[in-house]
């Protein structure tokens, strides 16, 4: 499963983001060299192991947060 597929399934709609990228590249071909790598990143596979790790980690992390133990991470997605 790719990141774009996750967004599409979660939203239950067409992946507007992917369409926008393709529309921009079609109208402004000069941008394609810059935008294609971005689209490829968004289309990268999400490892099933990471999804399994999420399910296993959440209960413990909630307990830690509840007890005041904070373990911050820096994630690009948090800014979106």
């Amino acid at each position: 499963m790719t990141l774009l597929e996750i967004i599409t399934r979660a939203a239950g709609a067409e992946a507007n983001v992917e369409k926008v990228f393709h529309d921009i590249m079609e109208k402004f071909p000069d941008t394609a060299p810059q935008l294609e790598p971005i689209l490829a990143k968004f289309g990268a596979d999400v490892a099933p192991a990471n999804l399994a790790a999420l399910g296993a980690a959440i209960p413990g992390e909630l307990l830690n947060i509840g007890s005041g133990k904070i373990e911050p991470r820096d994630h690009a997605g948090d800014a979106i």
């Binding site: 990141l3 996750i6 967004i7 599409t8 399934r9 979660a10 939203a11 239950g12 709609a13 507007n16 983001v17 926008v20 971005i38 990143k41 968004f42 990268a44 999400v46 490892a47 990471n50 999804l51 999420l54 980690a57 959440i58 992390e61 909630l62 830690n64 947060i65 005041g68 133990k69 904070i70 373990e71 911050p72 991470r73 820096d74 994630h75 690009a76 997605g77 948090d78 800014a79 979106i80």
Partner: protein
């Protein structure tokens, strides 16, 4: 039973409580490690039952606190230029990609969203997913590109957006 007016306040209280927890002495060596803010712009699309206008361009900001390797709480507000509205969200994100990669991450989210105009109401809980990517962490470490889409559990409407953010240094 909570009224619709009380739900945003309840959520805001939860987020502020989380931020206060992070800020409490002894819980975090450096506040700036947990709490972040960013300003940016969105190309936003609206889809689903009762949608009045399909898209807009928004500017605004996001604040968030990373509480654990996977979990963070956030709140954001954006102004839509073409239709003169303020749209806001607040909730929880869970990272579903490598938690130790600061430059590319994907997440699922549960948030309460609201807006200032009738066309984007009701205020409601929404489930979604998104991605964020720093295209050049070396030269532009504060620039993040991304996308998000969320499904309103009451309205069945989808709000999706492509985003650019500037991470604002707090110290």
């Amino acid at each position: 039973m909570k009224s619709h007016a009380e739900k945003p306040l309840l959520l805001l209280a939860l987020i502020l409580s989380a931020l206060a927890l992070v800020a409490a002495p002894g819980h975090c060596a450096d506040l700036s490690e947990s709490v972040h803010v960013a300003a940016g712009a969105n190309g936003a699309w609206f889809d689903g039952p009762g949608t009045v206008f399909p898209a807009d361009v928004e500017v605004g900001g996001v604040a968030w606190a990373s509480l654990s390797p996977h979990l963070s709480v956030f709140a954001d507000g954006f102004y839509g230029f073409s239709h003169s509205y303020v749209r806001w969200d607040g909730g929880v994100k869970a990272t579903i990609t490598d938690v130790d990669n600061p430059n590319l991450s994907s997440y699922v989210s549960l948030k309460y969203r609201g807006a200032s105009i009738r066309e984007l109401k009701p205020g409601e809980w929404a489930a979604g997913a998104g991605i964020g990517w720093k295209p050049n962490p070396t030269s532009w470490p504060r620039i993040v590109l991304g996308a998000d889409a969320a499904y309103g559990l009451q309205s069945n409407r989808v709000v999706s957006y492509a985003a650019i953010r500037y991470l604002i240094p707090l110290k």
